[in-house]
């Protein structure tokens, strides 16, 4: 038997170079630890600060005040040569160390990584997963037509690529992010056909008017009020109490139909309006990217409006798996500023776990971060209440003919038919085996949320009973040609 090359060792590996990962890296560097940062994007910043390509020069990039805090955190770390950056790289799994590869090392974790020049392993004493979140998909007839995108996906083109990815944009959803994106498109000279909120104006205003919230988060509210004013001045209709019903077009989006919602949140299909557009941005909140911690065996809990499956953690952001820390949106979607503070607290927790500081010093160092975080989490809670779509909206827009699973092209009625014929199937995994929903390349990220709800409702169970799809390594598909290039060329 040939001895395999020894796996490289690192004290700390951080997965995700967004606000949480950057905040943690800064604290760890201050205390003299070597830090490895891994991210799928080519540059640091996460989704909130998707940087333009290095080959571009952009003046006044993201100059709005809402980005100030996270931009400062990015500037403090960006491209620093004392950090081991591994960008354009996907972590495929967090594994128990193989005694054959790691020279007998049993503690810590082994990361399975796909980098720009292939796959390799890295051994780490401590791992922080700050993988962020992705947009919560809303299924409806026509949502697989080219031109339907996440609102954040559209924003990514504008922020990073300096590109307006369409002609006439309609935004539909419940999350105020869609206001920001519509505004950024307007400033870039795009045509915005409208912004449609599921909430009724009155309930939104009642929540916003809470005096303590107004005072503590005045920046966000002033910005939202300014945006509403700019949209009105530009003649962009902003509608409340309505939802997307369907999208149509021959080979791409040509028209969207919205419907008014009744006071109880159900769709009133007699009161509809057709809107011409070539892009539809869907903005119904976010789902935590908790696949990697779940694959590593960390326990999770279901929080419907805070990101779906959230990773359990202690007060130092250590998950149920030893030396596996989690921070940012995977612990509860609360926004970039909160993610930054969580990353800082997690870093203190890692220093404590590695024996670099004692418990008293850790408490002392974490105090200011925790204090700020508490305030931000109060705001996040309010935002969740405010941005919450009506109870059964996702269920009502996904009609029988709507595609549930994009990868495998499975309609909702096909999924339900098979479940009706197989009443013994009561878990997401069993439903996946039966129907192929969740078996495609996205590994259930696009359909999981809707599949869990549909199954839970049919069986009269809770989402927690039905469970998530089992996350397995590789958590993102990898080509055989990448795993075994010499055999697949």
């Amino acid at each position: 038997m040939t001895a395999e090359a020894a796996v490289e060792h690192r004290d700390v590996v951080i997965v995700g170079a967004g606000p949480a990962g950057l905040g943690a890296a800064a604290v760890l560097r201050e205390h003299g630890l070597d830090v490895t940062l891994i991210d799928e994007q080519p540059r640091a910043g996460g989704q909130i600060l998707r940087q333009p390509p290095r080959t571009f020069t952009v003046e006044r990039w993201l100059s709005a005040k809402i980005y100030d805090r996270v931009k400062a955190a990015l500037q403090a770390m960006n491209e620093r040569s004392d950090v081991d950056w591994r960008m354009s790289s996907s972590v495929l799994g967090i594994l128990r160390p193989s005694p054959y590869r790691t020279g007998g090392r049993r503690a810590g974790h082994e990361l399975w990584i796909q980098g720009p020049s292939g796959c390799y392993f890295l051994h780490a004493s401590t791992v922080l997963v700050a993988a962020g979140c992705y947009e919560r998909p809303l299924a409806f007839p026509g949502w697989t037509l080219p031109g339907v995108m996440g609102a954040g996906a559209i924003q990514g083109f504008v922020k990073s690529q300096q590109f307006v990815p369409g002609n006439r944009f309609l935004f539909v959803g419940s999350h105020p992010l869609q206001l920001v994106v519509a505004d950024q498109l307007l400033s870039a000279g795009a045509d915005v056909a409208g912004v449609v909120f599921t909430q009724r104006m009155r309930s939104a205003l009642t929540a916003l008017a809470h005096p303590q919230v107004m005072l503590q988060n005045s920046r966000q509210f002033i910005e939202s009020a300014r945006i509403l004013r700019r949209l009105r001045r530009a003649g962009v209709p902003v509608k409340f109490g309505a939802s997307i019903l369907r999208v149509e077009g021959a080979s791409a989006v040509e028209r969207a139909t919205i419907a008014m919602l009744r006071p109880d949140g159900t769709i009133d299909s007699d009161r509809t309006e057709a809107i011409d557009c070539d892009r539809v941005g869907v903005c119904h909140g976010f789902l935590a990217s908790s696949e990697l911690p779940r694959q590593a065996g960390a326990s999770v809990r279901w929080r419907e409006h805070e990101g779906g499956w959230l990773v359990d953690h202690d007060s130092w952001f250590q998950s149920s798996v030893g030396n596996l820390f989690v921070a940012g949106e995977v612990t509860g979607v609360a926004g970039a500023d909160a993610a930054l503070e969580k990353g800082r607290v997690a870093a203190i927790g890692m220093l404590r776990a590695l024996g670099r500081i004692d418990a008293r010093r850790a408490e002392q160092l974490a105090r200011p971060f925790r204090r700020r975080l508490a305030g931000m989490q109060r705001f996040a809670q309010l935002l969740h209440d405010l941005a919450r779509p009506p109870q059964h909206l996702a269920d009502s827009t996904m009609t029988g003919e709507a595609i549930l699973c994009r990868c495998e092209s499975i309609r909702r009625d096909e999924f339900e038919q098979q479940l009706r014929e197989n009443p013994h199937v009561v878990s997401s995994d069993a439903a996946k085996l039966l129907t192929r929903v969740g078996m495609g390349l996205c590994q259930g990220r696009m359909c999981g949320d809707n599949a869990v709800r549909t199954l839970a409702r049919m069986r009269g169970l809770s989402a927690a009973d039905v469970g998530p799809f089992q996350a397995q390594a590789p958590v993102k598909p990898v080509l055989l040609g990448v795993l075994a290039p010499e055999r697949c060329s």
Partner: protein, 85 residues
Amino acid sequence: MSSRITKNVTRPPAIAIQVNGREVTAYEGESLATALIAAGVVRTYCNMGVCFDCLVEVENGGRSQRVRACLTAVRAGLRITVAQA
């Protein structure tokens, strides 16, 4: 049509890539997803490497590989094959 923002933005000189045999103008470093949408080929849903809708075949220097267009940077001479919808 989609459009690249030019105000306050300086790009490197334009280069040519091939999309389904057709020559298309793009800029080094921008994402393939951007170049494709600018050329009228829309395959993006999430634009962050999650949905895999934008998986395309890329050929460069005799080697071909499937990649997510949203996570792949444009380089001169790339030949891209996008499955027809």
